[in-house]
Symmetry: C2
Subunit: 186 residues, 2 copies
DNA sequence: GCAGGTGATGTCAGAGGCTGACGTCACTCG
DNA sequence: CGAGTGACGTCAGCCTCTGACATCACCTGC
């Protein structure tokens, strides 16, 4: 039996979502979140670099899933992109309830949406690098990655508003086609 | 002759870019920026809501240009999008030097890139609304807008690294085609 | 002219986000 | 059993950002 209860990080994440939803993001102090998790404010900042990041606790793993999927895939640029997006979609699919619960916070607080966009940006960067590793020219890779992640964002936000058993991966593939049809061919 | 030198806002913006470049963004305090501009810290926060926003001082006008261009255009979704992006490109074209100067800050400081992404997000939202005003279904509009802005971002960042007389609008149109070709047609 | 309104700024006080330095204590490993 | 190691607490402090109130040039109507 250890001196400290395990998983301070997990407790902090849970406490944060609860408090942010209960009493609003800006009316909640980090000290309150830490208090509910049974630690001090200083400990909060050892686990998360700032007040927002706690809402994105386990999204780092998605980065890896994305990169792995693209690395092990092959085919056209579209095939590689679909492989990556499908992996991300799979990761999100299981967590529909959790993500839908915290989504109102993103929509109500520009600060939080800002951080969400930054996360998407890091996925985009990771995807571009993974595409480049397949020999795709860097600027083409960056373009494809950026657009792909934009499609994912729009589709996922729509999916979050629906039932948890809707097939996100399928919706993403369809949105990819639709986007290409809408914007291509001058 | 007025009591206060005019354009505190402009002086603040200039002082901020200079100081952020000279001594780094995080080693610069708002009080220093205000001091160089000849005002107090409190006055800074009357002109800009936070430490970052000063770097995006005149980008609000671009929002309007984008919306106007789409509103007065007609044709396919692609036509409308191209009209909007062309208007934005025109606004950026004149300010290549200024934007290129501050760009390293965006690349070096995640906080600032984060804000930049938020600005792109607001363009995307505005574009989606403008498309919807033409009768395009909201989810199709959101998809087209998001992808279009992603293309603009990648293209503009590349353009910023090149000479100021390169034609951004043309590059954006080409990138739109390239993106559609890369990702379409399953 | 002149009283009152307006707008931009200054001053002051304070909450809250975030960081560095240092101490404590259980656990572990040699 | 003694020296790490890691997770946490404590303390002090800077900086970002906000509310409340004062000041002073300028304008407006009379």
């Amino acid at each position: 039996m250890s001196r400290w209860p395990d998983d301070a990080r997990t407790r902090l994440a849970a406490a944060a979502v609860d408090l942010y939803l209960e009493q609003g993001y800006d009316r909640t102090t980090v000290a309150q979140v830490a208090g509910r998790a049974g630690v001090t404010e200083r400990t909060y900042f050892r686990h998360f670099p700032d007040k927002r990041e706690v809402l994105f606790a386990n999204q780092a793993a998605i980065d890896d899933a994305l990169v792995d999927a693209v690395a092990t895939a092959s085919g056209t640029v579209r095939d590689l992109v679909v492989a990556g997006l499908t992996a991300v979609a799979a990761s999100l699919q299981d967590r529909h309830a959790e993500l839908a619960r915290r989504q109102p916070l993103m929509d109500q607080h520009p600060d939080l949406r800002e951080r969400e966009l930054a996360k998407l940006g890091s996925w985009s960067t990771a995807l571009a690098a993974a595409l480049a590793a397949h020999g795709i020219a860097p600027d083409r890779a960056a373009l494809a990655a950026s657009v792909a992640i934009a499609v994912l964002d729009v589709t996922a936000r729509d999916w979050l508003g629906g039932p948890g058993d809707a097939d996100l991966a399928r919706a993403v593939r369809e949105a990819l086609d639709e986007a290409a049809a809408l914007l291509g061919g001058s």
